[in-house]
């Protein structure tokens, strides 16, 4: 496997209901850095694609080669170890609401600490230092002990990003990270995702609805329609014709 490729998807298919594929044999290669935006209409399988990669959803067929290892075949402990290397950011943040910001950020290390130490909140000092550092980076240094449910949407997503990066992942996935946020906060969150990807030099894959936001922040855009990839290229190459192909119709482009 070439050192410039982090992730290779081969013939990835997924059907929730037999005979109704959501993903139709996706082939995709993702490099070791850069932000890849996956755009496409609702229900086209963007979210399923992202969730297949860390196996929150099990693909029906195909290979997910992550640094040469096929994640599609993993089970049990091997799967958990693979998940530790992939950070994920969610549309609705998915923070543990009743826990503090710090507990949520440190939960990114749960793949590495024993149940007893996790229960007693005994994390290695190095993790704790890193958690404070990350809170600084995402701009929440003032709130480590605040409960997650007392934060605003933008703040929660920052915690979500810090939690994912806390894993020291080799790949950062984000499933519609800005869809529940206002436009200004969306831009800030996308900036943060891009900068963190660059800083950690890891590839970032983001599902999004907002084509303009994708154009602005992505190094590469993958357009999906009907469970297949219909466009793949740099943002500059994405023309109105492609958008018609991805979303259908053209009235909305005016």
């Amino acid at each position: 496997m070439a050192a410039t490729t982090a992730l290779v998807l081969r013939g990835l298919s997924m059907e929730y209901v037999r005979g109704k594929p959501v993903l139709r044999g996706i082939d995709l290669e993702v490099g070791t850095e850069g932000l890849t935006a996956i755009i496409g209409p609702s229900g086209t399988g963007k979210s399923t694609l992202i969730r297949c990669i860390n196996r929150l959803v099990d693909p029906t067929a195909g290979e997910i080669l992550f640094h040469g290892q096929d994640l599609a075949r993993l089970r049990g402990e091997a799967l958990r170890h693979a998940r530790r290397r992939i950070g994920m950011v969610f549309q609705e943040y998915n923070l543990v609401e009743r826990l503090s910001v710090m507990e949520n950020v440190l939960s990114g290390r749960l793949g590495y600490v024993s149940p007893w130490k996790a229960w007693m909140r005994k994390y290695p000092q190095e993790d704790i230092d890193r958690a404070f550092e990350l809170l600084e980076i995402v701009g929440l240094a003032a709130f480590p002990n605040q409960r997650a449910d007392s934060l605003s949407g933008g703040q929660r997503q920052r915690v979500g990003i810090a939690r994912a990066v806390m894993q020291r992942p080799q790949l950062l996935l984000a499933d519609e990270p800005t869809s529940s946020l206002d436009p200004k906060t969306s831009v800030e969150i996308m900036e943060l995702m891009r900068d963190i990807g660059r800083r950690q030099s890891i590839p970032v894959m983001v599902n999004m609805h907002d084509v303009e936001l994708a154009r602005r922040f992505a190094d590469r855009i993958v357009g999906m329609s009907g469970g297949a990839i219909v466009f793949d290229g740099p943002p500059g190459d994405l023309a109105d014709d492609h958008l018609k192909g991805i979303y259908g119709g053209e009235g909305w482009l005016q």
């Binding site: 860390n54 543990v96 503090s100 990114g108 290390r109 749960l110 793949g111 229960w119 605040q146 894993q167």
Partner: protein, 268 residues
């Protein structure tokens, strides 16, 4: 179309009316069969007045027996609550259908259903036969009741949690136990404390009763005082039980306060 015609907003339901008539008829019939009559009630009032008259003033005839009984009841309640809570945690978790496979939920649900099928007094009778007279039988009986109650409510609480939070913790590569500790328990912790303190309260009440069938506690003292017609002592025991229940309520409230305070993240 008629403008004055009486259009019923709520159409009459003859089935409902028939149901009410049947219910009323059955109440009358059952009352007659069981000799549930006004005359007997009036005669009873007389007896009741004599009974209450003999209860006052309350006298503590056997202070030792009263004190021992109360202390034993308290201990039965505390031990049964503690053991019951410890056991109901895994049982409730196993019974939650959103986290566990069917082969785990079925046995756990059967255990819970069995624990809940009988009144604590009936369970106490069984345990008295098994382990003999005394507090041990009472503790076991109330423990069974606690497992049934807390296990069921705990399982239901877990079934209502947000799976998004669980999914996020799973996505970090956390082990199953860590998913439980971080993704599940924080979501049900406050409710669990509520169930546990309620059960403690309820065990305290029931621990005063299992003694009647010989399973230890103040109930035994009460029962023998009744049998000796020591009604003034009975009154004293009843008043002490009321006092103990009130203390228990305060205790349960305190426990709730401590844990829920600790469960909260303190602000700066």
């Amino acid at each position: 179309m008629s403008t004055r015609g009486a259009r019923a907003a709520f159409p009459a339901s003859w089935w409902t009316r028939a149901g009410w008539v049947l219910l009323a008829a059955y109440v009358v019939y059952a009352g007659a069969r069981l000799d549930f009559t006004w005359e007997r009630f009036l005669v009873g009032l007389d007896n009741g007045a004599r009974f209450i008259d003999r209860m006052f003033p309350p006298v503590i005839v056997q202070p030792d027996s009263l004190a021992n009984g109360l202390v034993e009841s308290l201990q039965i309640a505390l031990l049964a609550s503690f053991l019951g809570i410890v056991i109901s945690l895994p049982v409730g978790l196993l019974a939650s259908r959103n986290l566990m496979p069917v082969w785990a939920t079925w046995p756990a649900r059967i255990v819970i259903a069995l624990c809940r099928s009988f009144h604590p007094v009936i369970v106490a009778i069984l345990f008295v036969k098994a382990v003999g007279f005394g507090a041990m039988a009472g503790i076991l009986a109330l423990m069974v009741a606690s497992v049934g109650f807390i296990g069921k409510l705990f399982a239901e609480a877990i079934e209502e949690i947000s799976l998004k939070q669980v999914e996020a913790v799973r996505a970090t590569g956390a082990s199953f136990m860590n998913v439980i500790t971080y993704g599940v328990l924080p979501q049900v912790f406050t409710r669990f404390i509520g169930f546990a303190t309620y059960q403690l309260d309820s065990n305290l009440r029931n621990s005063t009763m299992v003694g009647i069938v010989g399973a230890g506690g103040i109930g035994g003292t009460l029962f023998s005082a009744f049998q000796r017609f020591d009604y003034d002592f009975v009154a004293a025991i009843l008043l002490s039980i009321i006092a103990m229940i009130m203390v228990g309520e305060v205790l349960a409230g305190w426990v709730r306060g401590v844990f829920l305070e600790k469960g909260k993240v303190d602000g700066d």
